[in-house]
Amino acid sequence: MVNLTLYTVKAVVMLDSEGGRVLAKYFGQDYASAKDQKAFEKGLYDKTKRSPHGEIILFDNQVVLYRFHEDVFFYIVGMPEENEAMLLVILNAFSDAVSMLLRHQISKRVILENLDLVVLALDETIDEGIVLETDPSAIVARVSKPRENLSDVPLSEQTLIQAYQTAKEKFGTALLK
């Protein structure tokens, strides 16, 4: 069946080196229950752990593209008849964007420490199964970073400008009260 719709991706999954879920987002009804998802992930991990650089596999009647970084697997699950080159572009977009956001140090620990960036990157790459953007730099640019909370930093480490900003903010709040 040729896919005439824009719905291309069924799921994005990240698993650690023991097959545990780091992050997962499923779209559509194919893996609706948590049980189905777990079973799918377990099987997928079993079949890919031995060839972490295989990149592509036909599993459970889905085309799955994957990439292994340090100790994390990134998986993109597509429709069975989907154009593999399209899925590859999507995998690259997401994987490269995450890599840039994490300063090229992808590991489970870094991902969990910066999970806000990763979930936003995912949200900016795929919207309910439709690919939203394939240019990794554009995805990175769309992910906002939290503002450094200046009041938490000791005054001695603040630059003059920062000190000024803090003062302005404090003054502003005081006025509003």
Binding site: V2, N3, L4, T5, L6, R21, L23, A24, K25, Q37, K38, K47, R50, S51, H53, G54, E55, I56, L58, F59, D60, N61, L65, N83, E84, A85, M86, L87, V89, R103, V110, L112, E113, N114, L115, D116, V119, L120, D123, D127, I130, V131, L132, E133, T134, D135, S137, A138, V140, A141, R142, V143, S144, K145, P146, R147, E148, N149, D152, V153
Partner: protein, 932 residues
């Protein structure tokens, strides 16, 4: 500059899975109410919520609603980094929480053109998630403006959201086609204008990351939406393809996005599928796409060419060359894509794929097991006999490493190979039985068993070996379904083998060791040995074994054993064990339903003789179709087995099969049952198998007719399609005029088709009653459509107020004797023929001047009599003499048999001696009248 990853412990860090749980999160949610808002802390907590959800944690409705509304408080914060996270959490919670529609106004505010790009784009996507069809009217203006926004991110967000909304609010989204079109044609955004993006406000983003996208993906979204809106309008889709495909050849192509180009390829194929006359033009387009600079477009086009039905090797060549180049790609995914496409093509066109054999040989040892599996299965299809053994050995090496899907592929390839290279059957069989020892799910085991069944069916010299492999399988099979299948086959094939006793041991073991389902199957299989093996010693031991089953714990097993023992003792084996017919189950079900729902019939017993029978083979083939394996079945039969066992294979199908028409009839019966006027007609006896075309397929109105015969009534169903998109027909009646005034038919019911809009078929009915039941009228009707035609707008389908009356002549339809006869299968013609006896036999000798040969004569006779050809006699076996035997049920449930003895002489043509037997002289005479 502070390093971003060095965030402090208490607020920023996301720990491992058990670092926090739902309860803590719900408690911490107080932080959302604090003033002033601590943006960092809140964002960290929101991230934790998302993490919990992603780990499979679920929130109850109350919990989710409370959380949802405390999160919405954060809309007060001006911090865009916090806002982006708020959007995401709102989306996640909106599926569980209640009254989410309350945030609409906040989101509307963020959608304003004056807001930051990130606010606008994300607010649109969130709003899409919480809105419903009724609210959409109010948002229409914003969304339309956002679709054509010069910022690609806003435009994409609006387009994708509209696409999601199309499912719930078709009518509203339809109006946005112009905007979508404009979005496709928009010029790419220049890098300079994007410099104002919100990203620049954070110091730690390297300057090289710009918000502007080089992917042009917005065109993909816009094209997808435009197609969704236009997909029902074939002309518009065809125009869409022409429009953008024509320009894509040049360097300044409008569609810069390769994703969009891929969509266009798919739409082009859809156009070709619906309008075969465009095949040539579309093929040229596809060939052009093979040279596109993006490999995803090349791949899409190559796959599309491989899918073209009846493409020649020459036409396939450019696509195969493209795929061949991909085989040596450095990217595993591209290699995989190419080999998968070639593997699929090799199923139907192995010759076209053969030029890639050398490349595929190199891939056998590929690191990626999916790729190597595809390479080997493809080579099995394209290669020669000599390479089979080597390939089998290669693949046995890594069967245990590949997924079940791949294993099934391999096994199916081997199964179909047995027909191609029967001499290699021993290698393949041992491979299959070896494969069975691997772990694997039901689908895999079933594939292996089916493959071994193929050997039994098509290669007589491998039969014994295959059967003993099957015996081994049931010794240790965890799937009862498979055991039952195998036991059945052993029962059918075992008695024909030279040493039937060796199978009996295996079968009886099942009776001792297995569950009730398998035991039952084993008892049935044993009985077949008792009946079909001539050796008295065997018969005797089977009887002993069966009598041991009389004490079985399960009712069904005991009953079967008792029945079979009696059958063997009484010697009436024909009717029970050897009977290869079965009732047409769909028809039987319908008759039973009618019987049960009709209180008047309660006093009379159910008349089983009126239910047509079909052969087991038909039943099996239908079962195969249900399982969706017709394709592989077709592939097998298309290669004629050289072993001379053709008569056992599917080639033995009767020339005219009743099965499809009976299924179709069940569908008709259901339709008719819903019409009140026909309720009193009783159960449907017969519907014509194929609608009779009453017009050419290119005319303004396309009409076909189906005849439904009831006990006393005949209903003509006219399927009418209006092919003019600028008119609507109303109150469409069919005026039928019989050519013979004396005919005993009276028009009873006339049901017009109320309205016929463009391209949507409608139905009109005319019902006649047979006033003289002993007459079976043969008559031809002239038909005329009468209707009111109204002009309408092709775009909206809105008809004008005023219309005018018009009529339209269509071709004739006739009622014949065959319409009163239901084809029905019987297992033994001779026996049934003798049983009916000569009491009401009618014999006549005729010269068939209209039929040029014996085969044509058979076909014509089957059509004229409306009966079922038996024992493969519908196909003439060469000589100048042929006897065809036919069976059917005449209306009222009277069995009719016909024996047609034919001779052919080049001077005089076909001479026929037709003998009809039935339980009624009148029926026999009527039947013979159908020919004379």
């Amino acid at each position: 500059m502070m390093s971003y990853s060095k965030r402090d412990e208490d607020s920023g860090r996301i720990g491992y899975q058990h670092y926090f749980d739902k309860t803590t999160i719900l408690q911490e949610a107080r932080v959302f109410n604090e003033s002033p808002i601590n943006a960092r802390k809140c964002r960290a907590l929101l991230t934790k919520i998302l993490y919990l959800i992603s780990q499979g944690e679920t929130f109850g409705t109350t919990e989710a609603t409370e959380l949802f509304f405390s999160v919405t408080k954060l809309f007060q914060s001006k911090d865009s980094a916090l806002r982006q996270m708020v959007y995401l959490v709102i989306k996640e919670l909106s599926t569980v929480a209640e009254d989410v529609i309350m945030v609409t106004s906040s989101l509307m505010k963020d959608m304003q053109p004056t807001s930051e790009v990130m606010y606008r784009a994300n607010a649109i996507r969130v709003l899409r998630k919480i809105t419903d069809a009724s609210m959409l009217q109010g948002l229409e203006r914003f969304l339309k403006a956002a679709i054509v926004d010069k910022n690609a991110k806003v435009s994409s967000a609006a387009l994708v959201s509209s696409y999601h909304l199309y499912g719930i609010a078709r009518e509203v989204v339809k109006r946005w086609a112009n905007e979508a079109q404009e979005a496709i044609n928009a010029k790419p955004q220049s890098a300079v204008s994007a410099a104002t993006s919100y990203v620049s406000s954070f110091g730690n983003v390297p300057a090289t990351y710009t918000a502007v996208s080089n992917s042009n993906i917005v065109q993909y979204h816009a094209l997808g939406l435009l197609y969704a809106i236009r997909q029902k309008d074939r002309m518009a889709v065809s125009k869409l393809v022409q429009n953008y495909a024509a320009k894509s050849g040049m360097s300044g192509s409008v569609l810069r996005s390769p994703f969009a180009q891929c969509l266009l390829v798919r739409y082009a194929c859809k156009v070709m599928e619906e309008d075969p006359s465009s095949t040539r033009a579309v093929y040229d387009l596809l060939e052009g796409w093979l040279r596109h600079k993006s490999e995803m477009v090349n791949l899409e086009a190559a796959k599309a060419i491989c899918e073209i039905k009846d493409a020649t090797v020459k036409e396939l060549f450019p696509a195969v060359t493209t795929l061949q180049n991909f085989l040596s790609s450095g990217k595993p995914s591209i290699k995989f894509a190419a080999i998968r496409a070639l593997n699929k093509l090799a199923m139907t066109q192995p010759a076209a794929v053969a030029p890639c054999n050398i490349d595929m040989e190199n891939m056998i040892t590929d690191q990626n097991r999916s790729i190597s599996t595809f390479a080997i299965t493809t080579l099995l299809k394209t290669g020669n006999e000599a390479s089979v053994e080597r390939l089998m050995k290669q693949i046995s090496g890594f069967m245990s490493e590949i997924t079940d899907e791949s294993k099934v592929l391999v096994v199916e390839a081997v199964g179909s190979l047995c027909i191609k290279f029967p001499a290699k059957h021993h290698v393949m069989l041992s491979f299959l039985s070896g494969a069975l020892r691997d772990d694997g799910g039901y689908d895999f085991k079933r594939a292996v068993v089916e493959a071994i069944f193929n050997f039994v069916k098509y290669i007589p010299e491998s039969k014994e070996a295959a059967l003993s492999h099957l015996c081994e399988i049931i010794e240790d099979c965890e799937y009862s379904k498979l055991s039952v299948k195998i036991l059945h086959l052993l029962g059918v094939e075992g008695p024909k083998c030279p040493q039937p006793t060796k199978y009996i041991r295996y079968i009886y073991n099942r009776v001792i060791l297995e569950n009730a389902v398998v035991r039952g199957a084993a008892v049935s299989a044993l009985a077949k040995f008792g009946v079909n093996v001539e050796d008295e010693a065997v018969k005797k031991s089977v009887k002993v074994l069966l009598s041991r089953c009389l004490d079985d714990a399960d009712d069904e097993v005991r009953d079967r054993a008792t029945m079979y023992l009696n059958v063997i003792k009484s010697g009436d084996e024909q009717g029970y064990v050897r009977d290869d017919s079965t009732y047409a189950l769909a028809y039987l079900e319908r008759q039973l339903l009618n019987y049960v729902s009709n209180p008047e019939l309660a006093d009379t017993p159910f008349d089983l003789s009126a239910v047509p029978k079909i052969s087991r083979q038909d039943e099996q083939e239908r079962g195969a179709q249900d399982l969706g394996i017709t394709q592989s079945l077709g592939a097998r039969t298309s290669t004629p087995p050289q072993s001379g066992s053709a008569s056992n294979g599917s080639g033995a199908r009767p020339a005219v099969s009743t099965t499809p028409s009976l299924d179709q009839q069940a569908a008709y019966a259901q339709q008719l049952a819903e019409i009140r006027e026909f309720a009193s007609f009783g159960p449907l006896f017969k519907s014509t198998a194929k609608p009779v075309e009453l017009t050419e397929s290119e005319t303004e109105y396309v009409v076909s007719c189906v005849k439904h015969v009831f006990a006393h009534h005949v209903v003509f169903q006219f399927n009418i399609k209006n092919t003019l998109n600028d008119s609507v027909l109303e109150d469409v009646n069919v005026l039928m005029t019989p050519d013979n005034d004396e005919v005993s038919l009276v028009e009873r019911v006339l049901i017009p088709a109320p309205q016929l809009v463009y391209d949507v078929p409608g139905v009109a009915y005319v019902a006649y009653e047979r006033t003289v039941l002993e007459e079976y009228p043969e008559c031809t009707f002239t038909n005329e459509l009468k209707f009111i035609v109204k002009d309408c707008d092709p775009q909206t389908g809105e008809p004008d107020e005023e219309g005018f009356e018009d009529d339209y002549q269509v071709e004739e339809v006739s009622l014949a004797i065959a319409d009163f006869v239901l084809p029905s299968y019987i297992p033994s013609f001779t026996r049934a023929w003798e049983e009916l006896g000569q009491d009401f036999e009618v014999v006549e000798t005729l010269a068939l001047t209209t039929s040029p040969g014996l085969q044509e004569a058979c076909r014509d006779l089957i059509a004229l009599l409306g009966m079922q050809a038996l024992d493969n006699t519908g196909t003439v076996q060469g000589s100048n003499v042929h006897t065809m035997t036919l069976s059917g049920i005449f209306i009222g449930g009277i069995r009719v048999l016909a024996r047609c003895r034919m001779t052919y002489d080049s001077a005089t043509g076909v001479t026929l001696q037709l003998a009809i037997r039935s339980a009624s002289e009148e029926v026999s005479l009527v039947m013979i009248g159908a020919i004379a």
